[in-house]
Symmetry: C2
Subunit: 451 residues, 2 copies
């Protein structure tokens, strides 16, 4: 039996590895459009900043590593069409431009996503950049080396925008973030996002909200800035598009695979598409939000890995299920650790919950222990006490707080449960009562008083 | 209504604060034997080592802080007897030796625990020490200043022993740990404890297992060493008893309060004793192990705080429940973070489970991110997949791993649940798949194969 996997970054390479473990006899082939497979795209901003010295460190497995598991990797090969009736692919070798036919018994689509570039003038100027693929990373680095930019304008105010703002600031590039909306990090509640804004401003990042770029302006093929829809010119040596990403679904759509409401590929819990023997995993497909039960799109590295594992197991003849995600995510920006899980308060309201919330100062050590830091921890619960979400922002252990909350969501726990959770206490690690317990206790008392 | 609390360190002071919040009209009195109330005993080893410069930093609330909440604190007052029929106490003012009668409507016993000192010769020599109370801490510090010891023998190989071994080593005091048993940290499985042993040895701490001290030897009232039951002399300028602690239950026992099998005060989930209107909380009383359902004794600071909160709420007329604990605990020793929750494998077997376990290397960041550290993470599950416990030992984020596991225990989660948990991933915080998911996945696969 022959398994073909289209795409070999996160979901694709994980699917291949899992399929091999489940089925030793399977023939496994990966077609990967880029020159590299199995790299950590999430590490790219740290290569830009120089925190990671060499982009090669982001490579997880090489084609020869895969070969040791009898997984054939064809890099610089693009699948052009899927014929699901005859279980055939047309594949182009991008080096030779030669096209050939490849058959499959099982197929996994892991084509990922790509940055959205607005259809405006000037996006092809030198100095207009995106950061997502391996190729993007190399272009980004060479552009900085060649242009020696002194200023950058980042369009968009999400995760990659903020991470790049830090990276560029560390390179002494004066950085401005321009966003169409009124604030950054729309996945977070406004009160928590405001803390992040202040921290970025304290680290010399400038912001322009309610700003829409009309076109990029250049001189001798090199970007010099942008004009806004208001007619203002903003000078910048680099213009970076970080307004969002879109799923690579064209191949799937052409093959007759159903897309979901989010625009990404629709899959069931076994990661199967509507077409027989075709699975999808990673950023090209949907997931299910485990709180709302609704389809959502969660294009994150860890989700891609988990989905890849399930798709790989099922395609290899196993039986695994991906129940969905809680939308847990995290980013580091300067000294702030910024994380969330579940629903923010505004989304909880939109989904028909009647949320309560509390925000507490969460120390990561006993108050008197050296180098204690704090985050602001916001817990959001439904009026019946069930935890709905959590957000943590600050220099403290936001990652730990949010992973506790994510586990609590998985266990469908209430604030009354969490108030008396048994966390690990010793002065170097926590206050005597975990901030999670303290915040949950406040909400539990409030709910008790209401009933 | 008048609430009297006997003991004002962790449970007692928390109970007072909670009682005040629940009932603004209550008269609240704390009788505390020592000169200080409301201090962090868990911080004491760090005062010894000098990590915390001033022991005053460990004071959480002073009597005048309590007074602001209309809580009267009588320090250096010892309750001598409880007359539960007439709801009267006999209290001695230790400064004047004057005894008086005090009445109560509700009583909370929070008398804590004390170090076990073996009944052998020489325990009253200068240089023979324990560390638990505020008074112990002052004596310990003055003894080190006065004696300028160059060597120390710590008897016992539990948490306080290991923390003190680090503290004394940092003071350039050559430190040996002597234990009756064959290994350290009996609450952990032997394989995990062995990692801790190696780390301590690498940091110049010596060990003598299977060693029982027969008596302390001194010269001019100053300790010079010990002899073992095998007749060997071990020289030491300090001898520290860290073989364990015992609950202070004499007062309760005299009053007719039922003690449990563990020897500590028996309480129900409302922290009520068998005698009407008398509650107990903290190290003097039992808790319930939430996995085995059996009474256990968990004399830890965070448990004391949670129990104190429940006792305070109920004594003040509220209705709160403490469901018990999972035995979660943590300590830092040199560069190692050592934590556990739930049942170790050996205890799981004793309680009739058929446990499976796996140990994985748990990085706390992406492999390529600077300053990534690792812990060994051991997960223990029942044959039906339910998580039973976890242990983490190493330089990595053991605290985070164990708090995730403790939350999973609270949610009664299985390995199959945890395999697909949605944790916060970004390279500065975690590998792409959390070590918890990886370890749970291994166990889930093993269980799947067996069935």
């Amino acid at each position: 039996m022959r398994l073909v996997i289209i795409g070999g970054v996160a979901a694709g390479s994980k699917a291949a590895a899992k399929a091999r473990r489940v089925n030793a006899d399977l023939e496994i082939i990966i077609y990967q459009q880029e020159a590299e497979v199995s790299y950590s795209a999430c590490g790219e901003p740290y290569v830009i900043s120089g925190i990671i010295a060499d982009s090669q460190q982001l490579l997880i497995r090489t084609p020869s590593d895969f070969a040791q598991d009898r997984i054939q990797v064809f890099t610089e090969h693009r699948v052009e069409t899927i014929d699901h009736v005859n279980k055939q692919l047309v594949v182009q070798d991008l080096k030779t431009r030669h096209c050939f036919t490849s058959i499959y018994d099982r197929l996994i689509i892991a084509t990922g996503a790509r940055p959205i570039i607005p259809t405006i003038n000037g996006t092809n100027l030198t100095g207009a950049l995106v950061l997502r693929s391996w190729t993007d990373l190399q272009t980004f680095r060479h552009t900085i080396t060649d242009l020696k930019p002194r200023s950058a304008l980042i369009i968009g105010a999400g995760y990659i925008s903020l991470e790049l703002a830090e990276a560029l600031t560390k390179l002494n590039i004066s950085t401005t973030i321009a966003a169409r909306g009124q604030r950054l990090l729309s996945a977070f509640d406004a009160d928590m996002a405001a803390l992040v804004l202040t921290h970025l401003q304290e680290n010399s990042v400038s912001f322009r909200f309610n700003t829409q770029v009309a076109e990029l302006i250049g001189h001798q093929q090199r970007v010099t800035g942008v004009t806004t829809t208001e007619g203002e010119f903003i000078a910048a040596d680099l213009v970076i598009f970080a307004i969002g990403i879109q799923a690579n679904v064209e191949l799937a759509k052409q093959a007759g695979i159903t897309l979901g409401k989010t625009g990404a590929i629709q899959v069931d819990a076994r990661m199967a598409t509507n077409l027989s023997d075709i699975y999808a995993a990673g950023d090209c497909c949907e997931t299910r939000n485990r709180i709302t039960g609704m389809a959502s799109w969660q294009p994150l590295g860890d989700t891609a890995n988990l989905q890849g594992r399930v798709a790989g197991e099922n395609a290899a003849g196993g039986d695994a299920y991906f129940q969905g995600s809680f939308g847990t995510s995290i980013l580091k920006v300067f000294d702030f650790n910024i994380a969330m899980t579940g629903l923010p308060e505004h989304a909880a309201k939109q989904h028909g919950f009647t949320p309560l919330s509390v925000t507490v100062t969460a120390m990561d050590k006993a108050r008197y222990y050296p180098n204690a830091h704090s985050s602001q921890l916001k817990l959001i619960a439904n009026s019946n006490g069930r935890l709905l979400g959590a957000q943590a922002v600050g220099k403290g252990a936001s990652d730990k707080l949010i992973d506790i909350a994510a586990t609590a969501l998985l266990g469908n726990l209430s604030c009354a449960d969490l108030e008396y959770a048994d966390f690990a206490y010793s002065p170097p690690f926590s206050p005597v009562l975990s901030p999670i317990s303290v915040a949950a206790g406040v909400l539990a008392s409030r709910i008790k008083q209401q009933t």
